[in-house]
């Protein structure tokens, strides 16, 4: 075993890496959690095949005839719904449309849900055909699968971005506050250690762990879920590293003054939860009104997610995402400088 010391920046980085790998909980959040998340997604989004409409028929005169007309279709699944619970069945997704017998029958569905609108059309077609409608013609169908256009393809880069954000901010913010609580920061500044070395070492240690953290969801998405990876590996790596630097700098800023673990947790949640919602992780940020778009586009997670999707799904070259990279660089540099100024070492 070596006994002589490397330069301080290396020793500080090594110390942080050692502490991290010796902390089972931290390892769980960084590596196991993304795998669990990806597996859960694979189960929730099993493949491209069309999923059948879930249909309920309310009891009453003529209900049996309706059930008979709807039975035997590949694209329809009939479900029992207990009397009086039809609205909750729609809310919970047990059925997508409910047919109330009558002349004509009533379709009860939520037009704000895409699957509700689809189910209504499927049921309508089936019932009208059963009632004797003749088709003027039947179109030929040319089924194609366009990779990269599914929700899961869109979702994975967003999850990767979210993971880069949360491991960066939690990993740094929490470790710093812990060191402050233990008076370890104070002890370090009582030595000749350079303060920028400490802060840079925290960031470098995060970057070392970025590789497996990014590779796991990307490899899982590409190999198991069939997500297309169109961009060059170099471009993807650059965007991931760029994003990780940005969020570790933000983690430094978040941890720069907090003196308790409660304070840092609150601060991190306060800054991250809004970005989970508006920055296009689970649904597109274009759902928000135009008035707030400039603010949303200026957020670091929006920039990272947009950049990741552009390089992974569209194969965009780096110059095409220059504005996203510039936004992230702006956050990274200003956060680091501000953190250095505000940092409480005692």
């Amino acid at each position: 075993m070596r006994t002589e010391a490397y330069p301080p920046l290396v020793e500080l980085t090594l110390a942080r890496l050692r502490e991290f790998v010796r902390e089972p909980e931290a390892m769980f959040w960084a590596f196991i959690f993304p795998i669990i998340m990806s597996v859960a997604l694979a189960v929730a989004f099993p493949g491209q095949e069309a999923r059948p409409a879930l249909v309920g028929v309310v009891d009453g005169p003529g209900a049996e005839a309706l059930r008979a007309a709807l039975a035997g279709h590949d694209d329809i699944v009939l479900r029992e719904i207990p009397a009086g619970s039809d609205l909750s069945a729609i809310r919970d997704g047990d059925v997508q449309v409910i047919v109330v017998p009558g002349t004509p029958p009533t379709y009860r569905f939520d037009p704000e849900r895409a699957e509700g609108r689809v189910a209504r059309l499927v049921v309508d077609n089936a019932l009208k055909r059963a009632a004797g409608r003749t088709e003027p013609w039947v179109a030929r169908e040319d089924a194609v699968a366009v990779p990269g256009s599914r929700y899961i393809d869109w979702l994975i880069p967003g999850l990767l971005g979210m993971n880069i954000m949360s491991t960066g901010m939690w990993g740094i913010g929490f470790a710093i506050v812990q060191a402050r609580l233990r008076k370890l920061l104070k002890r370090l500044v009582a030595s000749p250690m350079r303060r920028t070395h400490y802060l840079l070492a925290q960031m470098l240690a995060r970057l070392v762990f970025l590789a497996p953290e990014a590779i796991v969801p990307l490899a899982f998405g590409a190999l198991v879920l069939g997500m297309p990876v169109r961009g060059s590996l170099a471009a993807i790596i650059i965007v991931c590293v760029w994003g990780a630097i940005t969020f570790t700098a933000l983690g430094l800023l978040a941890g720069s003054r907090a003196r308790t673990l409660e304070a840092i947790s609150g601060l991190l949640n306060l800054s991250m939860v809004p970005m989970w919602i508006v920055s296009g992780v689970f649904f597109s940020s274009s759902n928000f009104p135009p008035a707030v778009q400039p603010a949303i586009q200026a957020l670091p997670l929006t920039a990272l997610n947009d950049a990741l999707r552009a390089v992974i799904l569209e194969g965009a070259p780096l110059r095409q995402i220059a504005s996203e990279l510039a936004i992230m660089a702006g956050w990274a540099v200003s956060s680091f400088i501000l953190a250095l100024k505000l940092f409480r070492w005692r």
Partner: protein, 255 residues
């Protein structure tokens, strides 16, 4: 450095420091000679820690002048950090680094100093070199903290209550390490609220109460100033000195 030998290792004049309404240090002055072991003795809350942290350059005094090794914090902070060894009260080193890793980290900050192996030998932790810090006993942790302070081969060692909470054997072990440091020509400034520690280690002691020095001298001189006959009948201690000066026990307010 210049060839001029400066006789004093630490000098401070009329230090003041207040936290809101609380006056922590109230006009404290002292001088520590090179090569001596100087003790700040006093009850908790007397201002010892605030004083030593001002001298260590970790706190700014509200008023007063500080000179350490003939240098000032304002102009020579980087140089001073290289030449001082500091042990703070209540520092918890990283739990999941080994003893050797911790020492290597601290050693990396200094341009010169001892090797990790030498440091381990000095504080007698060779057998613990690959143990995690969290597994060490209280005395071993204190000796590791001391080894971190010694990593840069300092000229001057600041120790804030180095043996508080240790059992007698661990204290004695630590005192031996400090004795070897002094034998090598090092200067020590320490705070303590243990009379026996001050008596065993210190050449001179300043008794501090309410933010200033109320008595100063060698332990023998201080004990000799006692005039109360009830004390002279048995062997006087620094505890008796403190009591005769303040009418209170030194360790009254210990937690």
């Amino acid at each position: 450095m210049s060839g001029v030998t400066i006789a004093h290792a630490v000098r401070c004049e009329a230090l003041h420091k207040r936290y809101g309404d609380v006056v922590a240090v109230d006009g404290l002055s002292l001088t520590v000679q090179r090569g001596e072991c100087f003790g700040l003795l006093g009850p908790n809350g007397a201002g010892k820690t605030t004083t030593i942290e001002i001298l260590e350059g970790l706190l700014q005094p509200d008023a007063g002048a500080v000179e350490v090794l003939g240098l000032t914090w304002r102009h020579h902070a980087i140089e001073l950090r290289q030449r001082l060894g500091i042990q703070l009260q209540e520092t918890q080193l990283a739990d999941k680094l080994t003893v050797a890793e911790t020492l290597r980290l601290f050693r990396s900050f200094y341009r010169a100093g001892r090797t990790v192996d030498e440091l381990l030998r000095v504080v007698e932790l060779e057998s613990k070199r690959d143990s995690w810090v969290v597994k060490l006993s209280g005395g071993q942790k204190q000796r590791l903290a001391l080894a971190c302070a010694l990593a840069g081969a300092p000229d001057l060692l600041f120790l804030d209550e180095p043996t508080t909470g240790l059992d007698p054997q661990s204290r004695r072990q630590l005192w031996e390490v400090l004795g070897r440091f002094r034998a090598g020509g090092g200067t020590i400034l320490l705070t303590t609220h243990y009379m026996d520690e001050a008596q065993a280690l210190c050449d001179r002691v300043a008794i501090v109460d309410r933010g200033h020095v109320i008595a100063l001298g060698t332990p023998q001189e201080l004990i000799a100033t006692l005039t109360a006959p009830r004390v002279v009948t048995h062997h006087g201690t620094l505890e008796d000195v403190f009591m005769s000066l303040t009418g209170r026990h030194l360790r009254d307010d210990e937690d």
